[in-house]
Symmetry: C2
Subunit: 456 residues, 2 copies
Amino acid sequence: MSVHDVVVLGGGPGGYLAAERLAAAGRKVLLIEKGRLGGTCLNVGCIPTKTLLACAKHYAAALEGERFGVRAERVTFDWSAMQAWKREVVERQLTGLAATEKRLGVEVLKAEGRLLGPGRVEAAGELRQASAVVVATGSVPALPPISGVRGNPRVVDSTGLLEWPDMPRRLCVIGGGVIGVELAGLFGSLGGQVDVVEMLDEIVPFMDRDQAAVLRRAMKAVRFHLGCKVESVDGATVSFRAKDGTAAKIEADLVLMAVGRQPAVAGWGAEEAGLDLRAGAVVVDERMRTNLPGVWAVGDVTGRSLLAHAAYRMAEVACADVLASAGVGPGSRDRMRYDAIPWVVYGMPEAAGVGATEADARARGLAIKKASLPLRANGRFAAEQGFSAVGAVKLIAEAATDRVIGIHLVGAYASEMIWGAAAVVEQELRVSDLKQIVFPHPTVSEAIREAAWEIA
Amino acid sequence: MSVHDVVVLGGGPGGYLAAERLAAAGRKVLLIEKGRLGGTCLNVGCIPTKTLLACAKHYAAALEGERFGVRAERVTFDWSAMQAWKREVVERQLTGLAATEKRLGVEVLKAEGRLLGPGRVEAAGELRQASAVVVATGSVPALPPISGVRGNPRVVDSTGLLEWPDMPRRLCVIGGGVIGVELAGLFGSLGGQVDVVEMLDEIVPFMDRDQAAVLRRAMKAVRFHLGCKVESVDGATVSFRAKDGTAAKIEADLVLMAVGRQPAVAGWGAEEAGLDLRAGAVVVDERMRTNLPGVWAVGDVTGRSLLAHAAYRMAEVACADVLASAGVGPGSRDRMRYDAIPWVVYGMPEAAGVGATEADARARGLAIKKASLPLRANGRFAAEQGFSAVGAVKLIAEAATDRVIGIHLVGAYASEMIWGAAAVVEQELRVSDLKQIVFPHPTVSEAIREAAWEIA
């Protein structure tokens, strides 16, 4: 038996950040991870995808230099060299992460962990006791019951695709959510034939519908089949049916299954320990407490906002409460809120947003005012992207209060501009406040300011 | 004689935005510009520089693809093709601007204007009367009395350099301020031999000293000669003397004079009309009013914050007051403040900042707390820039109040991330507020959040 102040179950973003913050506050922390530190995000998600995307952007830049007065001959890419760069980046990040845990005194145990009950976790054949347990087991790819998918060597999930030894010339993506769109953009930009089959009428369901359409139209290298239900997969041939009943087939070399992810609630004792589960996720309150005393849960396993940075924030909220419950510092007034969490689709181009879409506002019965601006009039955008590039800014404010409740971007730099929008929404600023903020010229970000001046 | 509600003198960012906003509010506006609409910024400043920089970035991307698995042979650039793209972008922006003025009903007069006194301007041989006059005559490059500079065909200002028919193989830049550094970065990245001679001990005086040093060290393609005073220029040979008395020479093909800009107060009747001038600039109050009733001034001519976006904001403040003084809408409570105006140095890499530097805080006698973080641990930064790329985030907060008073960035995306920092400083947020804002992962912007958690 070993005794700790805190046991953290799962070493992804939510788990490792919780471990770091609690260790930094002087707690004795055991972090249990069965695989590699960093979780899905670092090992098979955000970081490898964005690294390959950086490669694809270099390829695109080399190909498209002509307009900018740059000539290059015989531009080619080497998939295995890209893979090597990806591995190097992931390993470096992992080394850095392990060093951080060590520096802060987090004890890392490579083992499967099992929650036995409040304060009790079993791992590597030993009982681990702690006054606080933080569950951060993450999520796994969802696998829908489509005929011909299970056991098919030509069907991969995102992890499999990122590791695929050769660049697939023809890729069929089942699912037009964020993972499907990002990987479709990546392979499309590398010159592959890419088809996306999506059951709904538009891609990326959490995006504002107008903005999702802008993104889809901008991704010219990808063919989208909307409102189409996949019926079966045979080898790498995908058969689907459109809403009007028309049947069609796509012949590909590889099929990516990207229909979403689901909380990882199996295999670590959640049910046996008596954790309250709903819709396949661990139920938490606004301080990330579960129904079991002394057990918190953070990140994807809660089924809320399956994003690494949402997990970070949940971890911070949980840590504040863990420390408060241990009598360290003042009682925690930190609460998790989900209305100011930005998201990014690292497509080609990027999209990002924070807060309410028009549909969200309608669902909440809010009267809104709004503004949409295309980016083509923006000086920097045109200078860098050319005149035919697509991008748009959309701003949504509550009519009654003038409060900005949603900011939505498609186009270059969206990922790096959106944190300011998160600040605006989190701080509940009004349109009149936003109009007084000075944006540097010439930037793409100025379009947000212009939208504020146009709002009506 | 013609009669208007408002006469605007000068068609740069401050002037054209004032004209647009006042016309949109129903005022009859005459905009007088002797040259081309758009002023320095659009025609010979921000937009052409950033367009050429976009070209240089494509060139660098094509050259540096190897690490990212991208191969290209015989990568070359064509200076005249770059110039052509630059002209195309500028012309498009100009066309768009002219169309906006027309759509809003602004009357544009191409002529030299002369302020005769309150409500009276002369242009194209005719008296123009208006209840409000907005002066926005901009600035001109400063030309210091260095021997061998005046009349020397090998010495150009930024306008001359941007139009230079051939790419200069060896460029010597006199002055390490923002213009000198941006153009040095541009030509250095194109493979030219570039020297910058700066009288002070560090480049870009308005930057935080630590961050300026980071930027300088990151610009490996440029040789900086700090603490060196230029004594004479002979052809394209620049002679200077270091602080320790050592004399040295740089032989170049072209010399860029970039020692700053000064308000354009000559040639349009400022003195004769009785405008209050101080240190060569038009004196204004916080509503942009001059000493003459019914005469406002905005932009570079005020000598404050010589930036296009500062001119925009001044124009908005002036417009609110112009409208209030005409009895349109409520009295203006809009006031110009200079402590939350972001700036960008479009160097290689970029730098940006907003609010107080450490030196500013010291000068104001403020006790501060701070954090500095290098970007090399940032996942996206490493994935896109490589492990040896340089970048840093610096955060400064007032110790007594926890208020964030300065955010300073060097590295990729700085220009597009900084608006959020402007929002934080403008809204007087505390470090504790900044820590609650969720930043998307993986982004470079996350480093700002990490700095907030590290601040002490």
